[in-house]
């Protein structure tokens, strides 16, 4: 398969592989998506990446749907569909297999040690995601203040995240950023 001539194959191989390496879920894979979409393939600019991250967080459904937006930017509806399936199906198949293997005895014990070993990696990846998106987005003091303000509110209160996103949008509209 010639990857240069057909971006669909690139989407399938990229996200199919990423699916199996996304330890800690979609938000942990954001830096890798940014690396591939902006730096390696030049599918979009930094700003567009920050935009689609915002759109994916604002819309309902699993966070993984940012790959739908990347796929659309690369190859329209076909790209959106292919990227979404490539990101979800390999890990879903693995989950089906492992779930069937281990889940039948309803009180099976999970290798808690492996889980304990992977949690710090997930946290490091998610912190990297925050940095990558922050660097891709518009940068000024207003942006820093809104970002840290939302972080503090989300940490200290039980406010619905959607309201915090909308508050960010209103502040942006008002020209704070």
């Amino acid at each position: 398969m010639n990857q240069d001539s057909n971006p669909i194959w690139t989407l399938i191989s990229t996200f199919g592989l990423m699916s199996l390496f996304a330890v800690g879920g979609a938000n942990a894979a954001i830096p890798e998506m940014h690396r591939i979409a902006v730096e390696v393939h030049h599918w979009m600019t930094d700003r567009q990446f920050a935009d689609i991250y915002a759109i994916s967080q604002l819309s309902p459904g699993p966070n993984v749907l940012i790959v739908t937006l990347i796929g659309y930017a690369v190859a329209g509806f076909g790209g959106a569909l292919v990227a979404t399936l490539a990101m979800c199906v390999p890990t879903a198949a693995l989950a089906y297999y492992v779930g069937g293997l281990l889940g039948r005895s309803s009180h099976s014990r999970w290798p808690s040690m492996i889980q304990a070993a992977l949690v710090p990696l997930s946290i490091g990846l998610m912190a990297a995601s925050a940095l990558v998106v922050a660097q891709a987005a518009d940068r000024n003091w207003g942006a820093v203040i809104v970002t840290l303000g939302v972080a503090a509110l989300a940490y200290a209160t039980r406010l619905n995240p959607l309201y915090l996103l909308l508050a960010g949008g209103i502040l942006g509209f008002a020209g704070v950023i």
């Binding site: 592989l17 699916s19 330890v23 879920g25 830096p31 690396r35 730096e39 920050a50 967080q57 309902p60 459904g61 699993p62 993984v64 739908t68 659309y72 569909l81 979404t84 979800c88 879903a92 693995l94 989950a95 779930g99 889940g103 014990r109 999970w110 492996i114 889980q115 070993a117 949690v119 710090p120 990696l121 946290i123 490091g124 990846l125 998610m126 990297a128 925050a130 922050a134 987005a137 518009d138 809104v146 970002t147 303000g149 939302v150 972080a151 503090a152 989300a154 940490y155 619905n160 995240p161 959607l162 915090l164 996103l165 909308l166 960010g168 949008g169 942006g172 509209f173 020209g175 950023i177």
Partner: protein, 203 residues
């Protein structure tokens, strides 16, 4: 029940669910997951938990935690894994596909509509400003999640965990190395170190 700690994303323990209702069929699974997914702004997990444990009473809180622990342990989007494991437990492969399709299908259509709108209007000035504000909010939410997940490691002075976290952050966030390469080294190292530390703690 199981003795291991629940994954960091799960918070307070639930009051015990008294009764469980009968297992759902394929069509019910599809619509239940579609509803949870479309309600799930900023992550579906909380809505899935509410729907499965409290609303439908298909699982007890403990069963849900255990299923989620498996999905957290597997790579990929946790909630996608959850839909597949959950669906297959009630209705085999058809159930897995129904739950998966319900979770992914309707929001994917919605996101595609947003993609078209963005392609047409993404350069309009006031929409640009709104999106810039929302990205800041999204990053802020992510920072809050990171800090919440980090606190247990800080509180129990898990130096190995904190060190691995910083190394992965530096490799991916600062050096921008490829994910696969970093994880192929970091996973065995982290598992090995955790194993050694636990042995030493027991000795």
């Amino acid at each position: 029940m199981s003795s291991e700690s629940p994954p960091a994303a799960i918070v307070a323990p639930e009051p015990p669910a008294s009764t469980k209702s009968s297992p759902p069929g394929v069509i019910t699974l599809f619509f239940a997951f579609a509803r949870m997914s479309l309600a799930g702004f900023g992550g579906v997990l909380a809505f899935a938990r509410h729907g499965i444990v409290e609303h439908h009473k298909w699982m007890t809180a403990d069963e849900f935690n255990e299923t989620y622990a498996l999905c957290h342990f597997l790579p990929g989007p946790n909630i996608v894994n959850l839909s597949v494991v959950f669906g297959s437990r009630f209705a085999g492969i058809a159930g897995a596909i129904a739950a998966f399709a319900g979770l992914i299908g309707p929001p994917t259509l919605l996101v595609m509509i947003l993609a078209v709108l963005y392609a047409h209007y993404g350069q309009v000035e006031f929409l640009r400003r709104i999106l810039a504000g929302i990205s800041c909010g999204a990053v802020g939410l992510l920072i809050a999640v990171v800090v919440k997940m980090l606190m247990p490691l800080v509180n129990r002075r898990d130096l190995v965990g904190l060190m691995m976290m910083v190394l992965v952050f530096a490799a991916i966030g600062l050096l921008r190395w490829p994910l696969q390469a970093v994880l192929l080294v970091a996973m065995p190292v982290s598992i090995g170190l955790t194993f050694i530390m636990r042995r030493r703690a027991r000795a």
